[in-house]
């Protein structure tokens, strides 16, 4: 591969990995606190739609990003209400929210724009102000500023999970909420914060999809990325660095399939190539040997139940 092609692929990998990594970091908090989140796609698509619609009507993409984050948080709040507060079935809640968000966003998209595809909206796809940097300038401008936000989020997450009191408590509450309750900590408040944070980050990831990576909203544009993020967290054993590596791994396959389609290698049909990331995910799960990092307790934890 020539140098320019290598750079193109590299840029592509980073750009396609951003939503997966962001959602994965969000899910890391959620899973570490003991709540399974199958609703990541729902959080992402709400964020994507919220951002696109806001950008469309106000012309301000950053406002769109904020709205996207809030939309993700709302979905997260519903999931949290059912899973944490009411102790309901987490898997079903997540899946239901996926369906609900998909239906909601498609419905409003079609009602507002007449089709499942929105017109182009204001976006933040580039960082032209970096052009001045020698050597790397032209490459760096191709990324959305949301990439910078991602790097900050990653750094903060490493600190939180590794060195902060909050991180210690999150690990504790995921391992044994009973112990945490007897230590005098509010278990539910902690879990709520983790799930809603997940929603915020997934919403941000979705907003990136519609106003950072592209500049429009399309039905089902998350294409199962939320699920890949959850797998990344599980395979990455809920540790920040490992999770990001696995998410990048999926990003690589995503970029690969896009590149192959663009180049147009003969023989292999595009649909099979598009299936590569999903197959990669299944392979990652199948060949995930090695010590499972201390079981997290995913059972519903109810208040005032006859449990001590």
């Amino acid at each position: 591969m020539s140098q320019s092609m290598f750079i193109t692929v590299f840029v592509s990998i980073i750009r396609l990995s951003v939503p997966i990594i962001l959602t994965a970091l969000g899910n890391m908090y959620c899973l570490q606190a003991g709540i399974m989140n199958l609703g990541a796609d729902g959080m992402m698509i709400s964020g994507a739609f919220g951002a696109a619609v806001t950008a469309y009507f106000t012309g301000n993409p950053w406002l769109g990003v904020c709205v996207g984050i809030i939309c993700g948080m709302l979905i997260g709040a519903i999931h949290s209400l059912i899973s944490v507060e009411f102790g309901g079935m987490q898997n079903i809640s997540g899946l239901g929210l996926n369906m609900m968000a998909a239906g909601l966003t498609s419905f409003f998209c079609r009602s507002t724009f007449k089709t499942g595809l929105s017109p182009n909206v204001a976006s933040v796809q580039n960082m032209p102000w970096l052009a001045g940097i020698p050597l790397l300038g032209p490459i760096l401008t191709q990324f959305s500023p949301i990439l910078l936000i991602l790097i900050i989020v990653f750094a903060i997450s490493c600190y939180i999970m590794g060195r902060s009191v909050a991180g210690l408590r999150i690990v504790a509450v995921g391992s044994d909420p009973q112990t945490v309750e007897t230590a005098g900590i509010n278990v539910w408040k902690l879990k709520h914060i983790c799930v809603i944070t997940c929603g915020a980050l997934a919403g941000l990831a979705g907003a990136y999809l519609s106003v950072g990576q592209l500049n429009f909203f399309m039905e089902n544009m998350t294409m199962g990325k939320g699920m890949l993020a959850v797998i990344a967290v599980t395979v990455g054993r809920r540790r920040p660095v490992r999770t990001v590596i696995v998410a990048l791994f999926f990003g690589i396959f995503d970029a690969l399939q896009l590149q192959i389609q663009i180049i147009g290698t003969s023989g292999i049909a595009p649909e099979l190539i598009q299936a590569i990331p999903y197959l990669a995910a299944i392979l990652a799960m199948t060949f995930d040997f090695g010590k499972k990092l201390d079981d997290v307790n995913m059972n519903p934890y109810l208040k005032n139940q006859y449990k001590f």
């Binding site: 079903i92 809640s93 239901g96 369906m99 419905f107 799960m285």
Partner: protein, 356 residues
């Protein structure tokens, strides 16, 4: 007094959940400036307004019912089968191929073989996740969801590639032979397919199996407490694998019926969402085959009515996906809803008495 209230709860809960879903959907309808009553009125007319429409609803209910049966069988074994949609699509493909490329067969045989092909393909699509679960204890939910995504891509590949039909304007498989078409029970005023007979037979078989047989008891034990079943000597993984494959077969059957009965070919992008209807239906009916049949009819009516609602009242039929989602989400909170209903029921006789 309390006993009669207790037995009402299994029926009251689904009703409450359905009403809440419809209420929230009205919110959406209002948001786009349409009167919900008009919208629902159009929906009802479109679904049940005439015998013609009623038959449409019944036809639609059939594949939905099989998909719900597929979910139910898995649920009896304690597994949440979210992969029905993918298995349904792949099964539809199997039936489409068998219906189109097998020639010179008498109709009854052709239809039967094509349906069996659908069941086989559905089962095959469930095979990989089942094997991964039995061998490596993989998270089935996640694998199923991935498989659903793969199914659509795979079908597109087949339709555009090896099974392309030269000269055909739209992307679909070759039209099935006339001998493979699902026969009609009634043709006037509208065509009611024989699928409805098959559904009733399968429903009865399932009810009989799970309620009266030793094997059915063991399957339920696996679902109730897999660990205790294991200690009791029941081969849990075997039963669960059987349930998953049977679910795949039923899902494939659903897809096959859609192809042989309605479309007569498999269109690119075919993913009717029956797999996702099946989940709330099976759960609200608590796995009861008769409840499932009733629920499937309601959903069939919902889907048929929603197309009318879209054309006559301007409400996008995507609202059905939204309602699906709300139902499933509320089901997740089922116990709280049940609890609230019970609490409210207890409050009534104590009105005017001491504070609880």
């Amino acid at each position: 007094m309390k006993n009669s209230k207790d037995s009402l709860v299994p029926i009251l809960t689904p009703v409450c959940i359905i009403l809440t879903a419809m209420l929230l959907a009205s919110g959406l309808i209002l948001a786009i400036g349409v009167n919900p009553l008009t919208a629902y009125g159009q929906m009802l007319k479109g679904a049940l307004g005439s015998l013609n429409n009623l038959i449409n609803s019944l036809n639609k209910a059939v594949p939905i019912c099989f998909a719900a049966f597929a979910v139910a069988v898995s649920t009896w074994a304690g597994i949440f089968n979210i992969g029905v949609e993918g298995q349904l699509v792949f099964g539809a493909f199997g039936s489409a191929i068998a219906g189109a490329y097998l020639e010179g067969l008498p109709p009854t045989l052709h239809v039967t073989l094509s349906l069996l092909a659908g069941m086989l393909f559905g089962m095959l699509f469930a095979l990989l996740p089942t094997v991964l679960y039995v061998a490596r204890d993989l998270n089935l939910l996640v694998v199923f969801i991935l498989m659903n995504s793969i199914a659509k891509l795979l079908i597109t590949f087949f339709i555009v590639g090896p099974f392309a039909v030269p000269g055909q304007m739209y992307a679909a498989t070759k039209e099935i032979q006339k001998s493979a078409r699902l026969p009609y029970l009634v043709t006037n005023p509208n065509k009611l397919t024989a699928g409805i007979l098959i559904v009733i037979v399968v429903g009865l078989l399932l009810w009989f199996y799970v309620g009266k047989t030793t094997s059915g008891y063991r399957l339920r034990a696996c679902g109730e407490n897999a660990e205790a079943a294991r200690y009791a000597g029941i081969r849990v993984k075997r039963y669960q694998a059987g349930a998953l494959l049977a679910g795949g077969a039923l899902a494939g059957l659903a897809g096959g019926i859609e192809v042989l009965g309605t479309y007569h070919r498999l269109f690119d992008g075919f993913s009717p969402g029956y797999g996702f209807d099946g989940i709330p239906i099976a759960m609200l009916a608590s796995g009861n085959p008769f409840g499932i049949m009733v629920g499937s009819f309601l959903f069939g009516a919902l889907r048929v009515g929603s197309t009318t609602m879209q054309s006559k009242a301007g409400v996008s039929s995507e609202i059905v996906t939204f309602i699906q989602g709300v139902l499933v989400t509320l089901i997740a909170a089922q116990y709280i809803i049940q609890f609230t209903i019970k609490k409210l029921a207890e409050h009534k006789p104590e009105k005017g008495g001491a504070k609880q």
